[in-house]
């Protein structure tokens, strides 16, 4: 049976759970929003790059080159 009556300790138990819930929710929201934002940005950039290359007749970025771009993107800047 769920016991939600914290009696004299309600003023300590509920704030502890509330703060924990808020902190975890904020961490999750921050991580997921950033993930969505940067992936959307990458998709947009890929579309723009492909369109620009198609216009100039340079062709699309080859898959191998894309993979190289990922690798070079995580390398530390000198």
């Amino acid at each position: 049976m769920i016991d939600l009556d914290m009696g004299a300790y309600a003023g300590f138990v509920w704030p502890a759970w509330a703060i924990s819930t808020i902190a975890l929710a904020a961490l999750a929201a921050r991580a997921l929003i950033a993930d969505r934002r940067w992936n959307a940005e990458l998709k947009q950039l890929d579309t723009d790059t492909d369109a620009a290359r198609a216009q100039t007749g340079q062709g699309l970025l080859a898959p191998k080159t894309r993979a190289q771009a990922v690798r070079s993107a995580v390398a530390p800047r000198k």
Partner: protein, 239 residues
């Protein structure tokens, strides 16, 4: 080493990430349910329910610093960019968990000890130092514009902070503290009854898996962010 390749890391973690988020939701729901059907403690009364959020935050917060320290080592010695992304992604959840441990511990300490905070207590002080290391790590990274220099400086600070981990863990054994000694990781088994142990372990698992979900999502985001910055720089150069 298999996941050291960013391409492989992205491919491998694509199905793993939603699974971790799903598992977190299930564990948190079950843990919360178990926490509120557990009986009151004969000494602590209902304040024992604070332990179900305090202990997981404190123990996982400590483990996260070990992750940050090991990642910093690989970033500094092998200059592996994924290790740097891993260290960076661990800092904020680690700081949040440690801050939660201090706040919820304070909320438990007031009715049980009669004090919100005890300055002379070794466990409390070493936990506060841990939070300062996390904050210092993030502040140092943010204060240096050059990414390579920021990586190096933050990695050194991350490694120095590892010294504090055994101090936090063994502070209750080495010094006479108000904080109670370890009740889970003991040579002769946990000193906690099964009624309390079940929600405690479930919530610890929930906090651990939640960290993994946030951490891996953030590493993936960091890879994509750096890729965007590289592509932007490349297209600016071509233009």
């Amino acid at each position: 080493m298999f996941l050291a390749n960013p391409d492989r890391f992205l491919r491998f973690t694509r199905p793993l990430t939603p699974a971790l988020w799903g598992l977190t939701a299930v564990l948190l729901a079950v843990g919360t349910w178990l926490a509120f059907i557990a009986p009151e403690d004969y000494q602590q009364g209902d304040t024992v329910r604070i332990m179900f959020v305090h202990v997981p935050a404190a123990s996982v917060g400590l483990m996260i610093y070990a992750v940050l320290g090991v990642s910093s080592f690989f970033a500094l010695v092998f200059r592996h960019p994924l290790a740097d992304a891993a260290a960076r992604a661990a800092a904020l959840p680690g700081a949040a968990y440690t801050a939660l441990a201090l706040i919820t511990g304070s909320l438990w300490g007031r009715p049980m000890w009669g004090a919100w905070w005890v300055w002379g207590d070794a466990r409390l002080m070493s936990e506060l130092v841990l939070l300062l290391f996390y904050i210092g790590y993030m502040a140092l990274r943010a204060s240096i514009d050059d990414e390579a220099k920021a990586t190096r400086a933050a990695a050194i600070l991350g490694l120095v902070g590892l010294i504090n981990l055994p101090i936090v863990k063994f502070s209750v054994d080495w010094w006479n503290t108000l904080h109670q000694p370890a009740s889970l990781m003991r040579a002769n088994g946990p000193s906690v009854t099964a009624d309390i142990l079940a929600p405690l372990l479930t919530m610890m698992a929930a906090y651990g898996v939640f960290f993994l979900a946030v951490w891996i999502t953030s590493i993936r985001t960091e890879i994509v962010r750096r890729r965007v910055l590289t592509l932007r720089a490349r297209s600016a150069h071509e233009a």
